[in-house]
Symmetry: C2
Subunit: 519 residues, 2 copies
Amino acid sequence: MEYNDLNCTKAYKELLDAPKASVKALLGKERIEKNEIKLGGGLKYNWAAMPIDENICSKLQALADEMDIVEKYKKILSGEMMNVGEKRLVLHHLTRGNVLSVKVEGDGEDKQAFYEGELAKIKDFAQKVHSGEIKGSTGKKFTTVCQIGIGGSDLGPRALYLALKGYEKKMNAEFISNVDPDDAADVISRLDFETTLFILVSKSGTTQETLTNRDLVLETLRKSPIKGLDSSKHIVAVTSKTSPLAQGKSVLASFFIDDYIGGRYSSTSAVGGVVLSLAYGYEVFEKILKGAHEEDCLSLEKDVTKNGALLDALIGVYLRNIKNYPATAILPYSQALSRFPAHLQQLDMESNGKSVNRHGKKVDYPTGPVIFGEPGTNGQHSFYQLLHQGTDIVPLQFIGFKNSQYGFDIITDGSYSQTKLNANLAAQIVAFALGKDDENPNKVFEGERCSSLIYGDKLTPESLGALLAHFENKVMFQGFLWNLNSFDQEGVQLGKVLAKKVLKGEGDEVLKAFAGKLI
Amino acid sequence: MEYNDLNCTKAYKELLDAPKASVKALLGKERIEKNEIKLGGGLKYNWAAMPIDENICSKLQALADEMDIVEKYKKILSGEMMNVGEKRLVLHHLTRGNVLSVKVEGDGEDKQAFYEGELAKIKDFAQKVHSGEIKGSTGKKFTTVCQIGIGGSDLGPRALYLALKGYEKKMNAEFISNVDPDDAADVISRLDFETTLFILVSKSGTTQETLTNRDLVLETLRKSPIKGLDSSKHIVAVTSKTSPLAQGKSVLASFFIDDYIGGRYSSTSAVGGVVLSLAYGYEVFEKILKGAHEEDCLSLEKDVTKNGALLDALIGVYLRNIKNYPATAILPYSQALSRFPAHLQQLDMESNGKSVNRHGKKVDYPTGPVIFGEPGTNGQHSFYQLLHQGTDIVPLQFIGFKNSQYGFDIITDGSYSQTKLNANLAAQIVAFALGKDDENPNKVFEGERCSSLIYGDKLTPESLGALLAHFENKVMFQGFLWNLNSFDQEGVQLGKVLAKKVLKGEGDEVLKAFAGKLI
């Protein structure tokens, strides 16, 4: 298997030469019905409003074939060392099922058995907490779970937790992430320690923010006037077996992850599993895994018109490298997905925001775009002005569901709120794509603003899992296309090193001058 | 006064020809101390880490002079019709003070007197609610205020409310914005109607989302088993005098805004004033206004090295139009500012995301960039990878404060959390600017990632007001530089029209095909 740069391929050169297509010219009823791919969890990916005609599509297929994109995915699934920078396997797919039904070994153990073992521990623990068999140190039942973690230990689990808020909760969840002490102060002010279970999440067990916030919580517990509070009965850890957090007896229980699950890909591991199983029940977490696994299986398809994640990835590369669009907006028409764009921002920008290929050579084409987004219709009253009439085109990824979660709705002015929400979504796709002429140049919409739509009946645990896996796999496929290692993050290291210097009073005069203004 | 396009000016052509400057080469201790401007509210704007040398800076000064930028600001302050598209004055500055001490008339009335009159009403009303003179319909004291509004009636007030959470609250605040019924359902599930006061905010009184959510709330109130609940005693309106909401007797009180305050500039009007005065007390809102007014006064300075908002605007245009950077990240090292980037996203992208100049002619240069951001240190564990090592350079706007708000902090590993937070901030500025060489190309940081820093002692109501005004004025100045009307938003209209068609079952086959998938 070869790992070549995108611009060394024959198909890429043909794509560059292919006549551009116009969304306005292409878009019609038939295309809208036809250009649609089944995803997992009952979702569909519609790419009718993308500037991709049959000719370009066939060249995208040729590109995927020439670069062996699906075969590279199979290498990941088979347990090859695909995180070449850190010399690690990439096993997040295995946390939700064994797509190829192969045995994957790492650290001398069967990795599927390891992940399934942790799942069994989570299931058992959550049931004991919910039944009251495991209680707080003063004998009260746990009603709140508070996750302490940052980055991948925060954004994904938090986005998934918020996404299911319309479902019956077994426990309330809170999250502390930022090293800014005001974050912990605000959350702690809402907590009743007697009924709160903390989850400390750090793979390495050395994350500065997480250890600091743990200590803040421990100190507050210690100072609490409540008699009999024992912090070790109120904390569980999610970490690697070899981390400092896994040692000692200061926690009620430990759940393990390993080096083969990158932080931003860890939502379906114990990192997301413990908090989601406690909040909604293990069965709900299991449904998320099911939806994700279904999508992982569909991502094996080699025909790009039948593989949503792969086509989404290919179109994204086309828009980034051939059309030169520098950003992409994620626009869920679902308040429940309010923090999903923030999770995808990490997933995408941390995976593919890189300038050297997997061999360490500088690439000479743009890689990962800027990702941002807010839920619709809120965004319509905010930054959509620029999306419609700004000087740059920003490709759009819409997400929508026929039905609301709570089912709490009324008819006003002839329609349900949910209908209004979706009428707006449909209207925006068309407004962006087709635009509108006007005598007043200020009211002209040029159109040709391309978008895709992922939609389904309802945001359920299964469809949520599939949605997550869709974007994870899209990002993975794009990493293959750009010939990157999407699974390390060397770009976060320098800041850590310099911050430590500041705290030790070290560093050059520039560092000291800036630090002096703030400390 | 002439209104010319940016690229018709002599200074712009000279800027294009000026040799580029290197942040790495420029940055030193002396520059860090010198390149700093006093803002309102005790804040400072530091631009040491920007690729602006003395030569470029003098050309930015020439550009500001040639385009009469400060004079144009004075036109706004004097009450000229600067929103040319909608033929309206632009008076948000007047909501916090009269910078030029001139009488501004609109709609046949003295506008300063009008805004001050509304402020007096807000002060009186808030005091009566806090004292219990105004109670809910069942005789209980109001403890929660729930704002129903979207866009400018939501993002700014919400960001400011969250920004002050470390201060003593008089009432808890909640916000309902999205037409997605799950938004209202989630918020309503947390409310006790007997003690909740709703604020309905819509300038026109016709905003679909806001009326729909009002009706959802009214219906829920109607169905409540609590005896004696009278919705008209639980709702106040913030709207224009002529709007449908201002009529009728269905509200407890009305507070007025007018057509001269754009939604995204309305945080310092009654739109932000009622909710913030109820939540924190009128005195706190008054301090926000004071900080904003102080910054408005400082923005009159013609020397660009003494006018933070103006220099920030000029540097932004330089980065966008000469360096061709398409996005800007807002990175507050303050959890309290968690939603401030979302507000600035609207403020900036809705104001300057436009392709035609104020005369209706298409401009042939890029205008407003994509704006996004999350609080640090959270962002460091998310999208910073791309900012450090991605293929595009994204200019950064850091914000930081020496002290936390809650003052709840402990020493771990030799330093306070607040110190760790700021050590990270200083480290990031330097890491982005100077980078680092390495034998391993994967660990190379090229540097030259430019940033500015706004900082102060503490995020107080005054500094918050100044921060808000800084960005409002920056965006206004950039609108002048790009020769745009920054005060209309025609780009939001087409979607509204098409959504109405969907709801009426009208529209062409393309619109119907998309709607059919979702409804």
